[in-house]
């Protein structure tokens, strides 16, 4: 792969990542959100694959394959299953902040990410590190989704969004943090999602829904 091709492919993948994050913020239907999330997973896998191709590293190819399986396959599948279980009533997210404001916030967060990432770029300027702000922005948008979305499932998506962003940063800066740690991280993420999914089921049994605003029993006021 040529250098320009590599750079273009890299930036394309990063663009898709950021775009999908914004779309997740934009759309209300959970089914669409999950599909977009799968697309983001694929973009992330592509990013890994591009890096692998550029470096010619077998280990990175394996990592890319793992990412594709986990983030474009297993996790969206788990989410979809949870969505099916939850029935018709819970198909839409109900943001605490309306969509227009959310998008504005996303724009501001992206700016912030860009500003914050300057030293990261400055440490080792390269095409890959130039794209680091995208990863940071995805992390911040993910956190924003966690804070403002009221469905259990959309919080799950928000968490995964953060995780995708972090993985992006990892790839863009240092091509990963070593296989053992990488696998450990994946395992943890997977387990967290599983746990949250089981808890969603229990929540539905206990509360009759997955609206997080119902979770107000434990408080001091």
């Amino acid at each position: 792969m040529t250098d320009t091709g590599y750079v273009q492919a890299l930036y394309l993948a990063c663009g898709v990542l950021l775009l999908t994050a914004v779309v997740i913020l934009w759309r209300r239907e959970l089914a669409v959100i999950i599909r977009v999330f799968a697309l983001q997973g694929a973009a992330l896998a592509a990013l890994a694959a591009i890096t692998a191709a550029h470096q010619g590293s077998a280990e990175l190819w394996a990592v890319a394959a793992g990412i594709a399986a986990l983030r474009a396959g297993v996790l969206p599948w788990l989410l979809r299953r949870a969505l099916v279980e939850s029935g018709q009533a819970a198909r839409e997210t109900q943001p605490l902040v309306n969509v227009a404001a959310s998008l504005l916030a996303a724009a501001a967060l992206t700016m912030l990410a860009y500003a914050v990432s300057q030293p990261l770029v400055a440490l080792a300027p390269s095409p890959a590190t130039q794209a680091v702000p995208v990863g940071v922005a995805v992390v911040l948008i993910g956190l924003f989704v966690l804070v403002t979305r009221r469905r259990a499932l959309s919080q799950l998506v928000g968490f995964l969004l953060m995780d995708n962003g972090i993985t992006t940063v990892a790839f863009l800066t240092t091509e990963g943090v070593g296989l053992i740690v990488e696998v450990g991280v994946w395992l943890d993420v997977l387990l967290v999602v599983l746990v949250l999914q089981i808890l969603t089921t229990r929540m539905r049994a206990a509360f009759g829904g997955t609206d997080l605003d119902d979770l107000r029993g434990l408080r001091d006021t």
Binding site: Q118, L143, V147, L212, T221
Partner: protein, 670 residues
Amino acid sequence: MNLAATGLVVAAALGGLSAVVALVVPTRPRPVLVGLGTAASGAAAVTAGVAATGGQSFAVSLPELLPLFGVSLELDALGGLFVAVTGGVAVVAGIFGMSYSRHGIGGRSVQSVFPLFVVVMLLVPVAASVGTFLVCWELMALTSLLLVAAEHRQRPEVASAVRWYAVMTHLGLVSVLFGLLVFAARAGGDSFDALRRADLSPGVAGVVFVLTLLGFASKAGILPLHAWLPRAHPEAPSHVSALMSAAMVNLGVYGIARVGGDLLGGGPAWWWLLVLGLGAVSAVYGILQAAMSADLKRLLGYSTTENMGLVLVGLGAAGLFASSGQRVLAGLALAAALLHVINHASFKSLLFLAAGSVLHGTGTRDLDALGGLRRGMPVTTAAFGVGALAASALPPGTAFVSEWLLLQALVHGVAVPGLATAIVMPVAVAVVALTAGLAVATFVKAFGVGFLAKPRSAGAQQATESPATMLVGMAFAGAACVVLALEPAMVLPALARVGGVVFGSLESAVGGEVTLRLEGVAGVLSPLLLALALLAAVVVTVAAVRAPGVRAARREARLWDCGGGPMSARMEYTATSFAEPLQRVFDDVVQPELDVDVDHHEESAYLVRAVEYRRRVADRVERRLYEPVLAVAWRWGEAGRGLANGSVHRYLGYGFYTLCGLLIVLVVLR
């Protein structure tokens, strides 16, 4: 090992042993063994303390104890005085407790904490490093707290007293801790030796002094941090009250003397004016509240505030004199203050033990329900009488001597130049005088209403004398009162040595063997001669009256009842009515709350069926100072609960906004 060291080690060992014994022996012999052990420990401590004030010293360092800090102990004359006083109180309280503990407080925990309380009180004046001092100080708070809580099942007020005490003692600790730690940080060492050598800027020294003063004053029951005292002292079991009121509060004085005098080396005049001012306010306020109080133990508790106030007046005057180079007068004022500490310990332990005996015999400590105890409890009555005489600063009582010395010191305060002195000294004189006058009224009330006249309740009617050990305990305390009243000169050399520790070498200010002879200023007083003269005068009078052949036998006669038939106990003056005129006089200061409900007959508004009169003398300082603070805390708590409103979004939002803010700061600061 000299006598001081041996005594102290034996005292600590005996105390610890008693605590262990309390845990293992069965209920029946427990109070006796613990009481004996505590008394023996106290006796050993007295020996050690007396030896230390006699010039012996003792130092030991135990770095293995108290992680991060280590423990170091040193017994000098100043510490020795307080060790001796504490030990003395422990002796009488221990003996008294042998039978007093039988009703309700003979449990394992209380009985094992009691000797420990004594031991840690003995260790406080011996501590020779910041860490050691604070740990002993806080252990003292802990053990006394547990003892105050001893009777929590019997009375709901105990729990409230525990809360007040715990919070305020902690407040005091934090204040002392701040002061000492700032001191230690500037001095670069924890040991008192390092602190003594430290060279502090006046500002820092002032901060250290004020912070520690606040904490120590709180322990001594000085305004404005006194509120725990009239709650905790009455609610504790009486022999514990005696220990707290006669021994523990002294350690507040010790702290001020040690830190302000010994460690900080005197300091400017304003420190001591502050001490004097706090003392003066406390003295008047304490005795006023005592005069209004109808609860015997609460009255005694407030009287402690008064007496500690007087001690601080003396201590403040001593510091003032020392700061202006008047070493003789400083010695005189300090001797007065320390003598008052000793005297107060003797009569306050006696009074609290007598109050305990009353509580034991009648089941109440409400003066309005007592009366006529002299028939059922003659020894207790006599004991309380001796104590009341001692406390009311009348000759031939103990407090008279120390207050006389104090006034002597103040009279000569004119020698100190400066406007502040010219204003403060007359006020201090007035305060001491006013306190003396009110103390007389207070103790006449306590003794006259509580013990003389007719019983006002069934409990007082059926009162019987307490068991022998309680009487022996009171007898010891009473003997101490009498000896101190007649022969105060015997403790003077010790006081002079203590003065040397506090303000550097002071010239001996008071001398004499039978007669107290002030050195450097004119003034003599002989309590013993005074008492003898009084006795002689009584004998002469008796002889003179008997001489003309008057019949010695007395005929019993009816009381004057205005012809209305026998008088009942309900017609008597109660403690409340006794204090009513005084309360009117000081209406503006004490601000009592009156509540009069008049219940009329149906037929006419002029015929009264029943009048209900309630009077409550609330602590005004409390009202003004504590209630707003409590209200703020309450509002804070209510508002604070909003922080945890259960919304997971808000919780995550805390993190989100913090993160964004943090990132922005990072961007800006780069």
